[in-house]
Symmetry: none
Subunit: 161 residues, 2 copies
DNA sequence: GCCGGCCTCATACTTTCGGGTGATTTTGGC
DNA sequence: GCCAAAATCACCCGAAAGTATGAGGCCGGC
């Protein structure tokens, strides 16, 4: 029981533990080396350089070890052939799953045509600020940071032609 | 002449150079601190610890900056409605009728993926200014004034997927 | 060799975007 | 009628995009 708790503890915290142990070990080695470092006084910089390299390596190793691989979802497009050019049906499910409003969708559509915010504002008879607000919310909901990304994503999700 | 060679050199080796400079700077600081370290004798371990942390951080930073993120690919099937099944062939006629160069086309492609100029620069290993120049020329040749328009027009002309 | 096109980069400047905050008005449903 | 969501607008600020101009390096054709 205790063993399993312990091992589980070790398993969960092995990286920090390892790191701590490395530090401790290093300090021991330091203590031992202290004498000859003081003797060979000039070797100090080299020694520090060593430490630096060592820990840079450790940092690199840690990062590679810890960073979880980014999960990338690849859409395998299973093609469904259509005869008549079905005029494009928006994927309504996606739209209201993301909570995208009618106006926002409209703005996205005009964005996809390459219009600037000002032009969109003129087209919709609203102010530039309004368009900005809509696009901001849109980006937030679509989890993108630029209009180009929004357009790209929108097309892939079939919410714009 | 000399300037540009030098700056290109710097640009290509900026990471190693930065690293080297950091090391050099650190050593200077060390030299300066040496006295008080010897005085406050016991602070030595703390000091080493600091170095260790510093360079661990540096290692982490380096890794994140340099290493391509590992990706774990998840395949998701998705139905896509298509009319013709041809896999896309770029319309070369249009491209060189407009006088669009290889590099410019490359930039356009990355734009279409929603990348920012900076991201494109990183991807192509060139400077931000270069990407701006390319995109400017591209817009001129395509007779558009914004990247969104370029992408839209590019897709309609079949010069990008 | 030299010219032109392409690629590269820089500097300086203007415009457009996008984030954040706050506020008022419409509107649709209960 | 009331409430919540949507739509409208404003202001500020920083970041990104785009314009203009100049310049050096590289390569292929003449």
């Amino acid at each position: 029981m205790k063993r399993s708790r312990l091992s589980s503890f070790i398993h969960h915290y092995k990286i920090p533990l390892l790191y701590g142990l490395s530090l401790a070990a290093l300090l021991l080695v330091l203590k031992w080396l202290e004498v000859r470092i003081l003797l060979i006084d000039h070797a100090f910089e080299v020694y520090i350089g060593g430490i630096a390299l060592l820990f840079t390596a450790l940092g690199i190793w840690l990062t590679r070890k810890l960073s979880r691989p980014r999960v990338e979802t690849v859409l395998v497009e299973k093609e469904v052939y259509v005869q008549g050019g079905l005029p494009f049906a928006i994927n309504e499910r996606e739209v209201d799953q993301l909570g995208i409003s009618k106006r926002e969708l409209e703005v996205l559509g005009l964005m996809a045509e390459g219009l600037s915010n000002q032009e969109i504002a003129d087209r919709l008879f609203v102010s530039l600020n309004t368009v900005k607000t809509h696009s901001s919310r849109l980006f937030e909901k679509m989890e993108v940071r630029r209009r180009t990304q929004a357009v790209e994503k929108g097309k892939r999700m079939n919410i714009i032609p």
